[in-house]
């Protein structure tokens, strides 16, 4: 009685071994490192030349790295302390262009473990320090931008197709409103637009003198625009974070219109916010005269400047930008390279307008939410500023430069133009910054409380259940190992509440063994033989263990589905802990019991 077949012992022993193997990486520490990767896939590649440049820079700064690892995507340089890391980081950042240089903590897990996919747990920001942002996309502004663009395109279209119209304007409550003098031109216009824009809905209203049409997005188009806006913003944010030089950033969509950005190790929140949230872009327009075909703007000194309505080139058509100094004036400048289409337009326009002034318009959308009388109020702000007006000396196309900015602004603008524009403005709705020292403290306190809690439980269980208690304690220890292994394998984010979840699991996991042992004691009382007691104890307790764990799991899953950030970390460890504890405290403890007592003549049970 109470004997398992050899293969069953082997299978259980094997699963324990595998769990230990995947839990081991968490015992290794981390060492300071600098990570070099190419900014964008299409640009600079990591090759022998890069390696040589890096070696030279390191030699010149008198820093000897511990080890250099290289693959197609990155070079990882490990140092023996943070001083050397910082020295090398500063030198590499200044010396390498076209690459992202980031400070990093690299795990010292040996390669043979990494080769089988064993990695340490992924620590959340509250344990390693860094910034967490939750950003909400303001779709209304995105749609308004589209509608403004449509208005412009409709005017152009009507001009080309010689259709007479009275006004084209954006409705304040949404939609593009067009009014015509007669039915014929309206119908023609509606036909023209319908042919070209399949995602617009038209509504016509006739008044005595006016024949009107209003165009709005179809519901399907709205949904699609939302998705593309989120996608584009994700890409843009990734590019921008690359430019900031962060190792292991997390940039993910959350829900319908939110994006989570996590930047481990970054402390300079001000710059991060400036870069991430900025919607800054440029427009190049000719300076016009006061009148209907022009728009009044202000320059940086606040004086009015009249710009022609039609835009020559927008920020999207800039394919590369870098900051530098204008050789003639010595002022900060942004060197711009246009894409093919933009370059062609720029060349055509400048050729026809030599000796005329052209302006660079800086545009930025800002959204903030504040509470006024208990209600949310969104403040949308559009900042438009003429940063520079210059006379076109001769026709130019692909390459030129912009001046009129401070050094800092030039650096930031170049970065933003390079990384691409955000489709819709974003607002930071949640920010959490944890300093690195606090992160370390959190880990230490969390791990210490797990150790203290574990020892206390072990003492209690040993005192009450003696020899069987030792089996339960071993199972409990294996439960922690299995949980850690599972968290490492799925690379779930471990947070401080997650550590608390591990601790709570320890306290609750022992319940299964308590249930089993109390059942065994009851069987002893009835006067059954020891082997029958063990058997009945495990069999009878199983239904109870299953019921109680399933109900706890239901609660854990609900917590997981609603939770965000730290709470999710707690829910994950709790749910996984319930699953592993069922395995360790029932299957593994049973296997151990069978191994020690199964098939032997027992007169007394130490339970």
């Amino acid at each position: 009685m109470n004997q398992y077949s050899t293969w069953r012992y082997l299978a259980i022993f094997g699963s324990v071994l595998i769990a230990m193997l995947y839990a081991i990486p968490n015992l290794f520490g981390e060492e300071p490192a600098v990570q070099i990767s190419s900014a964008y896939a299409r640009e600079a590649k990591i090759d022998d030349n890069t390696q040589k440049t890096v070696d030279d820079i390191l030699k010149n700064t008198n820093v000897t790295p511990k080890r250099i690892e290289r693959d197609d995507k990155q070079i990882l340089i490990r140092f023996k302390d943070t001083d050397e890391q910082l020295k090398a980081y500063t030198a590499l950042k200044n010396g390498l262009s076209g690459f992202v240089v980031a400070q990093n903590l690299a795990s010292t897990t040996p390669n043979w473990l990494l080769a089988i996919g064993a990695k340490p747990m992924y620590l959340g920001l509250d344990l390693r320090g860094g910034i967490h942002f939750l950003m909400a996309i303001d779709m209304q502004t995105a749609i308004r931008q589209d509608e403004e663009r449509f208005s412009q395109e409709f005017r152009n279209l009507f001009r080309e197709e010689k259709t007479r119209y009275k006004t084209v304007q954006r409705n304040t409550q949404g939609g593009v409103f067009i009014s015509f003098v007669d039915v014929a031109s309206r119908d023609k216009a509606v036909g023209l637009i319908k042919n070209r824009y399949s995602d617009l809905l038209v509504k016509t209203i006739d008044e005595p003198e006016n024949f009107n049409a209003t165009f709005t997005y179809t519901p399907q188009a709205l949904k699609q625009i939302k998705d593309t806006a989120v996608e584009q913003n994700l890409t843009t944010l990734r590019n921008r974070v690359n430019e900031l030089g962060v190792s292991e950033p997390v940039i993910q969509r959350q829900g319908e219109d939110r994006i989570v950005v996590q930047l481990p190790g970054i402390q300079d929140t001000a710059r991060a916010k400036e870069i991430l949230g900025s919607t800054a872009t440029l427009e190049f327009r000719l300076v016009g005269e006061e009148g209907a075909s022009s728009q009044q703007m202000k320059n940086r000194e606040g004086q009015p400047v009249w710009l022609k309505r039609s835009v020559i080139v927008t920020g999207d058509q800039i394919s590369h930008a870098s900051s530098g100094v204008d050789h003639q004036s010595g002022r900060p400048a942004v060197m711009v390279r246009l894409d093919g289409k933009g370059a062609k337009r720029m060349y055509e326009t400048t050729k026809e307008n030599v000796k005329k002034p052209m302006a660079v318009l800086f545009i930025e959308h800002k959204v903030t939410t504040s509470m006024v009388d208990g209600k949310e109020v969104k403040n949308r702000q559009k900042v438009e500023e003429v940063i520079n007006v210059a006379t076109i000396q001769e026709a130019f196309g692909q390459n030129f430069q912009i001046t009129g900015l401070s050094q800092n602004e030039a650096v930031n603008l170049a970065l933003l133009l390079r990384a691409g524009a955000l489709k819709a403005p974003m607002e930071i709705v949640e920010e959490r910054t944890i300093g690195p020292s606090l992160g370390k403290e959190n880990i230490n306190q969390g791990v210490n409380s797990i150790i203290v809690g574990f020892v206390l439980v072990v003492i209690m269980i040993t005192v009450r259940y003696r020899l069987f208690g030792m089996i339960a304690n071993t199972a409990l220890f294996l439960n922690v190992i299995m949980l850690v292994a599972l968290l490492s394998i799925i690379q779930a984010t471990l947070t401080l509440p997650g550590l608390a979840g591990i601790l709570l699991t320890i306290g609750m996991a022992i319940d299964a063994n308590v249930l089993i042992y109390e059942r065994i004691r009851e069987e002893i009382k009835i006067g059954n033989t020891p082997q029958a007691c063990i058997y009945a104890g495990y069999e009878k307790a199983w239904a109870t263990i299953l019921d109680s764990n399933v109900t706890t799991l239901i609660g854990g899953l609900a917590l997981f589905s609603f939770g965000s950030g730290p709470v999710k970390g707690f829910a994950i460890t709790l749910c996984l802990g319930i699953l592993t504890s069922m395995f360790t405290s029932v299957t593994i403890s049973r296997a151990m019991t069978n191994w020690f007592f199964g098939g032997k003549k027992l007169t007394k049970l130490s339970v």
């Binding site: 206390l456 320890i506 609750m508 609660g555």
Partner: protein, 321 residues
């Protein structure tokens, strides 16, 4: 504590025979539970909760001073800097200071943390930013909504599971015991003005699971015994069942309690509210699974006959003994 030591020293053959379920005791405990719940609801309505910035929105900063910090001076500095609503307090030690700000109507609410650090670093004392949390007004609303949904899903899920595995009256009683605990935790947090933040909400949802776990174990035994002990009344069967599971209840609640106590005393200040909610929850949850759940089941008139359809399953389990 004494109870735990007694259990730890007790021989295997000791049997409990406390009287839990007689009419008199049931009435007393029902009165105590009802008044606790009424006090909790009353306090919630009159005093409300001290909500953390997770729910209200606002900014929270934890800064560390190289020397002991002077709270009054910090308050003055902030007042002069235009932060009239700043709440300043020590956090753990006299070096660590917690600063709380409400939501602001000015547009630059996102840049507050930098301004404050700038204001404070002009002092002779060196200041280090330990933690910044900014939560916009939209987020809190979503959280409360999400929390309520999670609670609802849990309730429905458990109702279905217990109704299928046991019986509908057991399910209803389990839900009553399950709702009993969060109400009292919220009541205690409200009554003593303890800060209710996101982690406390998570703790409450975890307690819901824990307390239910306890209730189910007792119910399981009641179900077993109702089918085995044909002569006794339901009340007597319940009493025996609670006694039989008493050691297990005490062992498990203490083992969970010691781990959470370790968390409270060793886990650091950030996790205090969370650990406290768990401590209250374990105590209340253990009590509720003994008194509230079983008494409610009895009150709803659970009978032996209600469990007959599942007899075949029970026999299948009993076969091994």
């Amino acid at each position: 504590m004494k109870g735990l030591f007694n259990i730890l020293r007790m021989s295997s053959y000791h049997e409990f025979n406390y009287c839990f379920m007689d009419k008199h005791r049931r009435t007393v405990w029902a009165a105590i539970s009802t008044s606790l719940i009424l006090i909790s609801i009353g306090s919630f309505l009159m005093k409300g909760m001290v909500l953390g910035i997770d729910f209200t929105g606002g900014t929270l900063l934890e800064v560390q001073y190289s020397q002991g910090a002077d709270l009054n001076k910090i308050r003055d500095t902030l007042q002069n800097g235009g932060y009239k609503d700043a709440m300043v307090q020590y956090f753990g030690s006299s070096h660590d200071v917690l600063i709380r700000l409400g939501l602001r109507e000015e547009k630059n609410s996102q840049m507050i943390s930098h301004e404050i650090l700038k204001l404070l670093t002009t002092d002779q004392n060196q200041v280090m930013m330990r933690r910044v949390e900014f939560v916009g007004p939209q987020v809190g609303k979503d959280l409360i909504e999400g929390g309520l949904w999670a609670m609802l899903y849990t309730t429905i899920g458990i109702l279905i599971y217990v109704a299928v595995r046991f019986e509908k009256r057991f399910a209803a009683s389990a839900i009553i015991a399950m709702l009993h605990d969060p109400i009292i935790i919220i009541g205690i947090f409200s009554l003593f003005g303890l800060e209710f933040d996101l982690t406390v909400l998570a703790a409450i949802l975890a307690i819901v699971g824990y307390s239910l776990n306890d209730t189910i174990v007792v119910f399981d035994r009641i179900r077993d015994n109702l089918l085995k002990m044909r002569k006794e009344t339901t009340e007597e069967v319940m009493n025996v069942s609670i006694n039989q599971t008493l050691v297990r209840t005490i062992m498990t609640s203490w083992s969970t309690l010691v781990t959470v106590l370790a968390l409270f005393f060793v886990g650091g200040d950030l996790i205090h509210g969370f650990a406290l909610a768990l401590i209250i929850g374990i105590v209340v949850g253990t009590y509720s699974s003994i008194y509230v759940a079983s008494a409610a089941a009895l009150w709803m008139g659970v009978k032996r006959a209600d469990l007959m359809p599942v007899t075949s399953k029970e026999n299948a389990l009993d076969r091994h003994s």
